[in-house]
Amino acid sequence: MKRNQKILLSGNEAVAKSAIDAGCRFYAGYPITPQNELIGYMAKNMASSGGIFIQSESELSAISMVFGASASGVRAMTSSSSPGISLMQEEISYIAGAELPAVIVNIMRAGPGLGNIWPAQSDYFQAVKGGGQGDYHCIALAPSSVQEAYDLTLEAFVLADKYRIPAIILGDAMLGQMMEPLVANGKNYKPLAISHKPKEWAATGCFGRKPNVVKSFYLNLGDLEKFNLKLQKKYKNIKQKEQRCEALNINDARIILVAYGTMARLAKEAMLSLREKGIKAGLIRPISLWPFPQKIFQRLAISAKRLVFLVIEMSYGQMLEDVKLAVNGRRRVEFLGRSGGGIPTEEEIIKSSLSLLSS
């Protein structure tokens, strides 16, 4: 393919293509709407890329296979949508506990329960607070376009390896299903991503070295606490170094809209419309949901200006809590959200913003 050549892919396919381009050589998954194009792409393309594709008997099995693949020192991924990701939580905790790199893609649908297959952002808590047992975190990245789905998946593999941590791509049904042009080998393509180093901790047979054990079990009192402190140190380091967000028109803003993923695209349109009306609106789009981009909020919260934040989500207020924690009571933080398949519209966002500014 020519450099900078555009191709047309769905978000689901873009994530799959990116994974293969990133050197992912193991994928296991179980069908669930709305991420079926992803497993389909992997079924078609993994073998010809020299990797292994397995349609597993369940999501429990899929994530366990990813555990085994990662323990073998190979870049590995699984994908699913909300209910399937819930099933994987126990093993994601094992992956975190064994300090294995892995990429897990959640193309969110609406819940709770079987819910429906429309877009939603109501798995935020599960992704960023740790959905399984124990004190652990996953890196969580939220793309808002097909291009970014591609770019952030590459990034997720690099970060997962760098920190030996599970990394989640948190998209929604809209991102998964929509098709957009994409440049796969443009400026964000990092050859580094495929030349990852061999993992000396992997279970590959103990030829010429002492045996390796991949595990998350620390029976003796004190050992687990020591290990947990090591994890916490790692998380602190990630929080320092890996906060990512997009900020638009924030310097003179009196109202800053805060949204992530596809929701942020609607919020951006609303922000531009507000600007056209002469209202000083800005936008912050968190790209890393964990670590949450706290620094930018902290900086704005101590500035002298009058400022209000309006958090907009396809949920009933999950990221809202992280914004409030970062702002720490210093500025007003308000919320607009719909869930169950409903999406806050541009008009609703504008209306909310105007009424906030006049109140």
Binding site: R25, F26, A28, I52, I54, S56, E57, S58, L60, S61, A62, S64, M65, V66, F67, G68, A69, A71, S72, V74, A76, E90, E91, Y94, A98, A203, T204, G205, C206, F207, G208, P211, N212, V213, V214, K215, S216, F217, L219
Partner: protein, 242 residues
Amino acid sequence: MKKIFGRTRSLRGVDTHYCQGCGHGVVHRLIAEVIDELNIREITIGVTPVGCAVVAYDYWDFDCVESAHGRGLAVATAIKRLQPDKIVFTYQGDGDLAAIGTAETIHAANRGENLTVVFINNTVYGMTGGQMAPTTLIGQKTATSPLGRNEKTEGYPLRISELLAQLQGVYSVERSSTDSVQGILKTKNAIKAAFKNQMENKGFSLVEVLSACPTYWVLSPVESLDWIKNTMSKVFPPGRIK
């Protein structure tokens, strides 16, 4: 004088946490002996379970990977597919393989994964305090079947080996007993055959080992072996199943 029996290379010389007379110690040793006799220690990857044998990796001297409860064969599937030149086995108890992991077990078997499975059947959950297992015998008292297992409410002992033998993808299934010196030697041969099958790319091979849990059978170690021979073996007859 020559040493004709001693600890083999792949078994570490450490004390195990197992109870007096527990069958795990014997089977750990047999696996280590087989691995050394086949000279595959440096290419073997063991997948350890959740249950009493959770820290088997502390007793074996080769690479091991932990698995969540029941997920051993899913973990092993990925390892073997990615490293087909390595020898990969799972070590699983009856609760792990035949209750919580039934789906992973059946589907790995049905896919014909080229793996070796050592399945310890001792009819109880030992790690958690002797609760009823899928393999608990009718009438057997456990912490969660205090009046004895009743087939009307708890079902019959699950003969998962016979069930797995029905699957086209499965290459070999053998049940063996550690109730005697002869039984232990037969068990070793069965385990060795199951490893050799994998080395020859023949496919999914499972050895079910009838193993003693004196603590939760509330029997002495010697009585436990008699119980395997006279009672347990009637429900789980040793021999080649497939």
